[in-house]
Amino acid sequence: MRLTTASGRRLVAGIPILWLLVLFLVPFIIVFRISFSEVRLAIPPYTPLLTWRHGSPVLQLHWSAYRFLFTDPLYISSYLYSLKVAAVSTLCCLGLGYPMAYAIARSDAASRPVLLMLIVLPFWTSFLLRVYAWIGLLKNNGVINNVLMYLGVIHHPLALLQTDFAVYIGIVYSYLPFMILPLYANLEKHDGTLLEAAADLGARPLRAFVRVTLPQSFAGIVAGALLVFIPAVGEYVIPTLLGRTDQIMIGRVLSDEFFENRDWPVASAVAIVILLLLVVPIMLFQRLERRELEAAR
């Protein structure tokens, strides 16, 4: 009996571990290893890490891919641009998402599932299709320009497509649910009597919100911000379809290195640096979450 429970437990814990091992850790190691190679015209298109010389293995670590990232301004500017786009989009999502999450959490219990359903509803359509739809809205003879011209607000079409603005719209539109849902989950648990206590002690509604609700929803804000920020940094589809042509994001750089330049070591190095950039906020988040769990106990 005891044996079966123990092995059952091992099986349950083992499946996700195996999953992460095979589909995350192993690919990561492969990419990490390729980033220390040099490109060559062969199959595979990079130099091996180990070579045999006089019967003994010799480790060949090449830093050229990383060196290249910091010498060509394209990479640095793409990284900075990606961080900027992700940061601005995250702030926009927070500004839009917080009031929405708050409103859903404060609405009566009967209408909450409906409102949440409306938040999740866009996922029923393909992501690619929804981004394409924005082209139809934003292009020079698209819906927005046509309506504005018809109303006489403008006489020449506004250049909306292939701008930063279009990228922000695309990212905020696509990732808003990832901001709203964790915020809602947090705000929904708040104890209403705390706000009454704040009012009772002399705090006006806005002050009570700033001193009581906002600090308590901090974990929800961080969770939502990371869920938007992390994928936004590496976003490929939205800037490619809606964004500028003179300034590309790092996700596009990565794909170009792989598929256009066939420079796997540089592409891998790009991926590793993105990961390093994102590890810091993720670790901060995990520390916060642990503290939150301890406080809840």
């Binding site: 104890d191 705390l194 206590a197 704040a198 009772d200 002050r207 001193r211 600090p215 809840a296």
Partner: protein, 378 residues
Amino acid sequence: MNAIPAAADPDSAYVRIANLTKRFGDFVAVDDVSLDIRRGEIFCLLGGSGSGKTTLLRMLAGFELPSAGTIRIDGADMSAIPPYERPVNMMFQSYALFPHMSVEKNVAFGLEQEGLGREQIRRQVGEILDIVKMGGFGARKPHQLSGGQRQRVALARALVKRPKLLLLDEPLAALDRKLREHTQFELINIQQRLGVTFIVVTHDQEEAMTLGSRLGVMNHGRIAQIGTPSDIYESPATRFVADFIGSVNMFEGRVSDDGADGLRIDCTELGCTVRAPRTASCTRGATVWTAIRPEKINISRQPPAAAGQPGPAENAVRGTVREIAYMGDMSVYLVQIDSGSMMRVTLPNVMRGAERPIAREESVWLSWHGSSPVVLTE
């Protein structure tokens, strides 16, 4: 502290609640309540769940707006005053401490809203924490405190602004019995020291009796009776109050004589004539209820002296002990009297290991003094 003791001016109404009504849709939670509360007293609102006591308290705090009626505190009409501008603070049943703030920050919150200087806030917070004996805990977070400590912090937070009126919603409900008894007296102590007027809402009659200088018993949104704890216990005004406070043996009867020496009531349910003190509203022939508290009944093997006389017995019945519950400090006897009804009798266990205690199924006499029964008409 320049609080005026309650005794100095007993007629002044510090808090005046007039014709207060609160409706939630069709449900009337508070129904035309009028109530005066004196300065510096502890007034307890006692009632079961759904009696409207908490709604009344929330209207005093400003969380609910009355459907009709007015609340005046120290002469000022509160109708249009939002909670954050009322001279009233509340201690919540759940304590409602801010979980992300330290004890000090929790207590300082109210003072910060007044825009006091940092040094003054620090001093006042220190003072009140010392009063509730939480002086060394200022840096702790609420989740690092025990239930009793949280209760003290909640009290300190509500008192630090020196409100004109402190509302306490079931202040001791979350504490275990031993701590509750201890805290009751401490609460009275602190109240007397600071002179703040307290209104306590509770469903626990023992708590209400110990804490309150006066009680208001609520039922179905109305005040059933207002009085001192002994008024309410010894002279309940209605059957509801008699039954709600403590336990009581209640029997229907008919007034057969209302002479100068008292009432004579025929109780068929009880199987004897009850003699009781005169009450103004009883006349011959009226249907009344006699209520006798279990501790005011004497239980004996021998017939009481008066029962030996011929004719129907007065204030005495025979019965058989059906059940005995030993509670330590006292014993509860359930006696089936000869008419078939059950009566509850409590007896203090004065002696340790009494010689020959009354046993189950033993035949006994129950008797009581002529002043003990309370005659109720409604």
